[in-house]
C-alpha cells in the first residue's frame, strides 16, 4: 500500500466511558467553538507558508520569505542557510521552525548556537516568533522541554551528550555552522550522530578556505548528496577540476543551500567607508621589530619556525605586551635554556625600551574625534588588556569582549557597551556571534589574515538594522609585514568594498588550501624581499584570474593555460 492509515483511538475510550457513566457532557456553545477554532487553524494545502499569518508584527523581507518557502517546499526541510552576514538568517530559520510547528510536523527541536547568542536566540524565538524556546541551563531541560537553545560546546560534553543522544529531534538548527567544516573534529562527530529529521545549518561563510568544507557541511545535512568522500576528492580536489565540474557542483550545492547576497536583495544598504590608517613606529618599536626580523637569518635560532617569527612580527605591530607574553612562553618551553636565555633577554630588553604604543596613540586620537561608540578588534589578548588600561588612563570607558566569556558575561558586556561604555575591545574569537548594529565605527587594530574573518568582524556592525554608514579604520604599520598583507587584501582583492559572496567564490576558485598558510609561506619562507615580492605577485595574479573567471565565466577560462 502506498500509504498507511492510522486512527487515533484516544477519543473513543473517553467517549465510551462517558456513555457508561452518563456524562459529563460538554456544553453546546463550547462544542461549536471547538470546531470553529479547528476550522481556523486547519491547513488544507501542502504548499505555501502559514507562519506569516501568525506573525503580523514581524517584518519579513521578501528574500527571507522565499528562503523559508524553498526550504519547506523544495528542500524537504534540510538546508544550509548561507545568506551573507546581516541578511537575517535567524529570521529565515525562525520562519521554517514556526511553519513546521504550526503544521504539527515537529515537536522536539534542538538549536545549537555560539554561547554568546544563546540568550538572543531564545529571546527572539519567544518574542518575535512566539515559540517557547528555553535556554539550556539545567540538564533536565534536554528531556523536559521541546525547544531548547544551547551552545555546541555545552551540548557535546558529558553528561549532556549522552542525554541528547537519547532524544529524537524533529529539527536541529545549527548557527555559525562553518565551525563544522572539518569532519575530523569532535564537534562534527557530535552533530553527525544526532538523530534529526529536519536540519538547518546557518553560516555566512559556507566556504572559508577549501572546497572540502562545503562537502563536509552538505554531508552532515544529506550524506551522499555530493557523493562519498573519496569520489568527491577525486572529482573536485585541486587541479583536476574543470569548469564543467564546477557548474555541476554548483548545481548540486544549490539544491541544498540558499545564499542571498546583499546586492540581490534590493535592500538599501548603508555605505561602507574604509580608511587605511598608516602608523609610524617610534624608534624603539622599530628596533624591536627589526630585531625580531633579524632572527630569521640567525643560525642559532634555526629551531624557531618561520611561523613563530612571523607571529612575533605581527605581535610587534600590535603591542609590546603581546610580544612579551610570547617571549615568556617561549622561554618557559625551551629545553636549551642557556642558548636561548641571552637571546630572549636581548629581545626582552628591547621590549622594555618601548615606551609608547604608536597605534594606541592613534586609536586614542581617533576615538576622541569620532566621539561615538567604537569597536576595536585585536588578535591578541595582551593587546586587549593593554588597550583597556591605556584608554582608562585617558578617561575613556571600555569593556572587553572575548570568545572565552561565558554566555551571561557576553550579554552583560554587550549591554555595558550599549549603555555605559564608549569602546568595546574584542579579540578575534569574540567577533562572532554578537550583533552590535547600534555602533558604526570599527578599528582593526591589527588584521586577521583570513579575509573571511575580517568579513565576520565587519558583519557584526554592518547588518540589517544598521541605519548609519559604517566606518572601518584599518591600522597598518609602515614597512612591516602588516603593510604587505593590507596592501594585498585591500588594494589587490579590494576586499573591503567587495561583498563577501564574491570573495568566497574567489577563494574557492583559487583552492590552494588555507589562505593564512599561504600568507605565512610567502612572508615566512621567502629568502629575500625579491622572492616575497614575486610570490605576492603570483598570488595577486591568481586572485585576478579567479576574479576574471568569475566575471567572464567560460570565456576567461579558455584562456587559462
Amino acid at each position: 500500500m502506498v500509504v498507511d492509515i492510522k486512527f487515533d483511538s484516544s477519543w473513543e475510550e473517553g467517549f465510551l466511558e462517558r456513555i457508561n457513566q452518563d456524562g459529563p457532557w460538554a456544553n453546546w456553545e463550547l462544542y461549536k467553538l471547538a470546531i470553529e477554532a479547528e476550522r481556523h487553524t486547519v491547513i488544507e494545502e501542502f504548499d505555501g507558508l502559514i507562519a506569516p499569518k501568525h506573525l503580523p508584527h514581524l517584518t519579513i523581507l521578501p528574500h527571507q520569505l522565499e528562503a523559508a518557502r524553498k526550504v519547506v517546499e523544495n528542500m524537504n526541510g534540510k538546508a544550509i542557510l548561507a545568506d551573507e552576514v546581516g541578511l537575517g538568517k535567524t529570521i529565515e530559520a525562525g520562519l521554517v521552525l514556526k511553519e513546521y510547528m504550526i503544521r504539527g510536523l515537529i515537536k522536539k527541536v534542538l538549536i545549537l548556537v555560539p554561547a554568546s547568542l544563546v540568550t538572543q536566540w531564545t529571546r527572539e524565538l519567544n518574542e518575535k516568533f512566539f515559540i517557547p524556546a528555553v535556554a539550556q541551563k539545567k540538564s533536565y531541560v534536554w528531556e523536559e522541554c521541546d525547544v531548547v537553545v544551547s551552545s555546541l560546546d555545552t551540548a557535546k560534553r558529558s553528561p549532556h551528550r549522552e542525554i541528547i543522544y537519547q532524544q529524537e529531534y524533529d529539527l536541529v538548527i545549527i548557527d555559525e555552522a562553518h565551525k563544522l567544516k572539518n569532519n575530523k573534529t569532535k564537534n562534527y562527530e557530535f552533530v553527525q550522530n544526532l538523530k534529526k529529521k529536519f536540519c538547518l545549518l546557518l553560516t555566512a561563510t559556507p566556504i572559508q578556505n577549501k572546497i572540502s568544507e562545503i562537502f563536509n557541511l552538505v554531508s552532515l545535512l544529506k550524506p551522499g548528496h555530493l557523493g562519498n568522500e573519496s569520489a568527491f576528492n577525486r572529482k573536485y580536489k585541486k587541479n583536476s577540476r574543470s569548469i564543467k565540474d564546477d557548474e555541476h557542483l554548483r548545481e548540486l550545492i544549490n539544491k541544498v543551500m540558499i545564499r542571498n547576497r546583499r546586492k540581490e536583495t534590493g535592500i538599501e544598504w548603508t555605505e561602507r567607508h574604509v580608511e587605511t590608517v598608516p602608523i609610524e613606529f617610534t624608534k624603539e618599536e622599530r628596533e624591536l621589530y627589526d630585531a625580531i626580523t633579524a632572527l630569521r637569518s640567525d643560525n642559532t635560532w634555526m629551531s624557531l619556525s618561520p611561523f613563530s617569527i612571523m607571529t612575533l612580527q605581527r605581535e610587534a605591530c600590535s603591542s609590546r605586551e603581546a610580544v612579551y607574553i610570547t617571549l615568556k612562553n617561549m622561554l618557559a618551553k625551551t629545553e636549551n635554556k642557556d642558548l636561548f636565555q641571552s637571546r630572549i633577554q636581548d629581545l626582552l630588553e628591547k621590549v622594555d625600551k618601548v615606551r609608547t604604543n604608536s597605534k594606541a596613540q592613534k586609536a586614542l586620537q581617533l576615538i576622541k574625534s569620532i566621539n561615538d561608540k567604537v569597536i576595536i578588534f585585536t588578535e591578541y589578548r595582551a593587546t586587549q588588556l593593554y588597550l583597556q588600561w591605556f584608554l582608562k588612563q585617558h578617561g575613556i570607558t571600555s569593556v572587553p569582549f572575548r570568545g572565552g566569556f561565558k554566555r551571561g558575561k557576553k550579554d552583560w558586556m554587550k549591554e555595558l557597551f550599549q549603555k555605559h561604555a564608549q569602546v568595546l575591545i574584542a579579540t578575534e574569537a569574540g567577533g562572532e556571534g554578537i550583533n552590535l548594529q547600534f555602533c558604526n565605527h570599527i578599528i582593526n587594530f591589527d588584521l586577521p589574515w583570513n579575509p573571511m574573518r575580517l568579513e565576520q568582524r565587519i558583519g557584526r556592525v554592518h547588518r540589517l538594522g544598521q541605519e548609519k554608514d559604517v566606518y572601518i579604520y584599518n591600522f597598518a604599520t609602515k614597512d612591516t609585514v602588516e603593510e604587505h598583507v593590507l596592501k594585498l587584501l585591500y588594494e589587490k582583492i579590494s576586499l573591503f568594498e567587495k561583498v563577501i559572496g564574491e570573495l568566497d567564490d574567489i577563494l574557492t576558485k583559487l583552492d590552494f588550501g588555507n589562505f593564512e598558510d599561504y600568507l605565512t609561506d610567502v612572508f615566512g619562507y621567502s629568502a629575500s624581499e625579491g622572492e616575497m615580492r614575486i610570490k605576492m605577485e603570483n598570488l595577486t595574479a591568481m586572485i585576478e584570474l579567479a576574479q576574471q573567471m568569475k566575471e567572464g565565466g567560460n570565456r576567461a577560462a579558455s584562456g587559462n593555460p
Binding site: I5, F15, L16, A26, N27, E29, R39, E73, G227, N228
Partner: protein, 264 residues
C-alpha cells in the same frame, strides 16, 4: 481570522465557561475568570494548591484582552491578541479539551400533543492529516443514524440549523440505538478508510520517491568501505521519519444526538 472574529470568539468562549464580562468594548474586553478557567488558563498550580491547603479565599484572575489597539484607549492595559498569539491558541486548545464529548436532544414541536420520538445519531468531527515531510489536514463531519445505519456528511453544519438542548425536552422520548456506539465508530472508520483509499495519492508516491532517492545517496555515502556505524542507522531512521507517508485520523469532538425523524 479577522480581529473582529477573534473578539467575538473570546466573548463567546468566556461566556460559555460562565465567566463574567466586566467590559466588552469595541477593540477590547475585560473578563473575570472563574476558578476553573483560572486553573485552565493561568498555569499557576502552586497558587491553587496553596489556597486549597490553607482554605484562603480564591481570587481568580481578571484579564483584559486588546483585539484592536487602534480603538482601545491608551489607559487600557492588557494582552494584545491576534491570530498568532499563544494565548489565542491556548484558548483554542482549551475549547477542544473542554468540549470533546456531548449529548444533545432536539427540541421538537408537537402539533398533536402526542410524544415525539427522537432518533439516536452518532456524530464525529474528525481531522484527517496527510503527512510525509509535508502536511495538510482535512476536516470532516460525519453523522451515523444508529437505527438504520444511514451516514451523512457535513453533519455538524446540519446540527447548527437545529434547536438543541442538553436535557430531554418535554413530550419527547428517545429510541434506543440498534447500533451500539462502539460499532458505530467502527462503521465510520471503515467508511473513511474506504473513501481515502479511493483518493489520488500522488503526494505519497512522490514522498516515497524522495525517500528512495535520499536512501540511495546515503548508501552511496557509506559504501566507501567505511563501517556502517551508528550514524548510518540514525540517518536511515531519520529518513523514514522524514518521508514515510501516513494518514492519521483523529477525532476532534463528537457525541450522541437525539434528533426528530426528518431532522437531517
Amino acid at each position: 481570522m479577522q480581529q473582529a472574529e477573534i473578539h467575538e470568539f473570546l466573548v463567546r468562549f468566556f461566556q460559555a465557561n460562565g465567566c463574567e464580562l466586566i467590559a466588552n468594548e469595541d477593540g477590547w474586553l475585560t473578563v473575570q475568570l472563574t476558578v476553573d478557567l483560572d486553573k485552565e488558563l493561568m498555569n499557576r498550580p502552586f497558587y491553587w494548591h496553596y489556597l486549597e491547603k490553607t482554605g484562603g479565599t480564591p481570587n481568580p484572575a481578571k484579564l483584559t484582552f486588546i483585539t484592536d489597539p487602534q480603538r482601545t484607549p491608551k489607559n487600557i492595559k492588557g494582552e494584545k491578541i491576534h491570530f498568532g498569539s499563544p494565548r489565542l491558541h491556548q484558548i483554542f486548545q482549551s475549547a477542544k479539551k473542554l468540549a470533546g464529548y456531548i449529548r444533545l436532544y432536539e427540541q421538537g414541536r408537537s402539533a398533536s400533543g402526542r410524544g415525539i420520538p427522537l432518533f439516536p445519531w452518532l456524530g464525529l468531527n474528525v481531522k484527517i492529516s496527510y503527512q510525509c515531510d509535508r502536511k495538510k489536514d482535512i476536516l470532516r463531519s460525519i453523522g451515523l443514524h444508529l437505527i438504520n445505519g444511514r451516514m451523512v456528511e457535513g453533519f455538524h453544519d446540519r446540527l447548527l440549523q437545529l434547536d438543541l438542548t442538553p436535557k430531554i425536552p418535554d413530550y419527547s422520548y428517545t429510541i434506543s440505538p440498534l447500533i451500539m456506539p462502539k460499532s458505530g465508530i467502527l462503521r465510520i472508520k471503515n467508511f473513511l478508510r474506504e473513501e481515502i483509499l479511493r483518493e489520488d495519492h500522488q503526494w505519497a508516491l512522490e514522498a516515497r520517491q524522495r525517500w528512495e532517492k535520499d536512501l540511495k545517496l546515503l548508501e552511496h555515502f557509506y559504501e566507501d568501505g567505511k563501517e556502517k556505524g551508528e550514524s548510518y542507522h540514525n540517518e536511515k531512521e531519520a529518513l523514514q521519519n522524514q518521508y514515510e507517508p501516513k494518514i492519521i485520523i483523529s477525532v476532534i469532538n463528537g457525541g450522541l444526538f437525539y434528533l426528530t425523524e426528518n431532522a437531517v
